[in-house]
Amino acid sequence: MTLREIAKLLNATVCIGESRLDEEVEHAFASDLMSDVLTLKDTPMLVTGLCNIQTIRTCDMASLDIIVVVRNKKVTDDMIELAEDDDMVILSCPYSMFKACGLLYDAGIKPLY
């Protein structure tokens, strides 16, 4: 599934990463706990309700570069600036974590575990 299709499915706004929307995504991981994200060996798309500068830094350290923020949380300018350095994609969707994950799973996005 492409990021463009994911953005449409989740009714999401593309905060950054417009040029990468034709990339395919296979796996996703959902967590608000950055400590948990830091234990991942793989590099899935992250679905999260935690929307602050540490979300971006954690993804940078864990080599994750696609983030879906749920519940329309405000992605701030400093987050965008940091994400830009690492060529990340950030989508922001209005849905709850539960609904976003349900839609993604139903559309064929696979879990890690």
């Binding site: 706990l33 400590s35 994200v37 830091l38 234990t39 954690t58 350290m61 080599s63």
Partner: protein, 136 residues
């Protein structure tokens, strides 16, 4: 190559700056991406710990031809029982730390998983020093 960074108490906005800078250096040195990830995840966990629990500290990094040595030394309350702190799920983090997505008691165990050598020394009321090494 020697690098030094200062960590400021409670400065979550800048948490990870040292790790991010080390990541850039290692990438420039063409270190294998899997090893870079192990190094920066461990260092980031240590950096966040120093910011979350202590009153500031230093991050010292030495990159050699076959390994990286990292020391995160803080001035702080110290850890009364290191063995207990190494247990997954044990945490003394404040709510503010948890709001940032940390404080689940996974930091020290995750450092252990990612490095080849880990040594934690601590004196209550003085501070904690975390020494880590990762072989290239």
């Amino acid at each position: 190559m020697h690098q030094e960074y200062t960590v400021v108490e409670g400065d979550f906005v800048n948490a990870g700056k040292a790790s991010s800078s080390v990541k850039k250096t290692l990438k420039q040195l063409n270190v294998e991406p899997g090893i870079v990830k192990r190094v920066v995840v461990a260092l980031y966990e240590a950096e966040v710990n120093a910011i979350a629990h202590a009153y500031g500290g230093k991050v010292l990094v030495d990159i050699e031809s076959d390994k990286i040595k990292m020391v995160v030394a803080d001035k702080g309350p110290g850890i009364p029982d290191i063995a207990l702190a190494m247990q997954e799920g044990y945490s003394t983090a404040r709510p503010e730390v948890r709001d940032m997505g940390f404080g689940a008691g996974m930091g020290l165990p995750n450092m252990q998983k990612n490095v080849d050598k880990l040594n934690v020394t601590s004196e209550v009321g003085v501070g904690t020093t975390v020494e880590m090494e990762v072989n290239f």
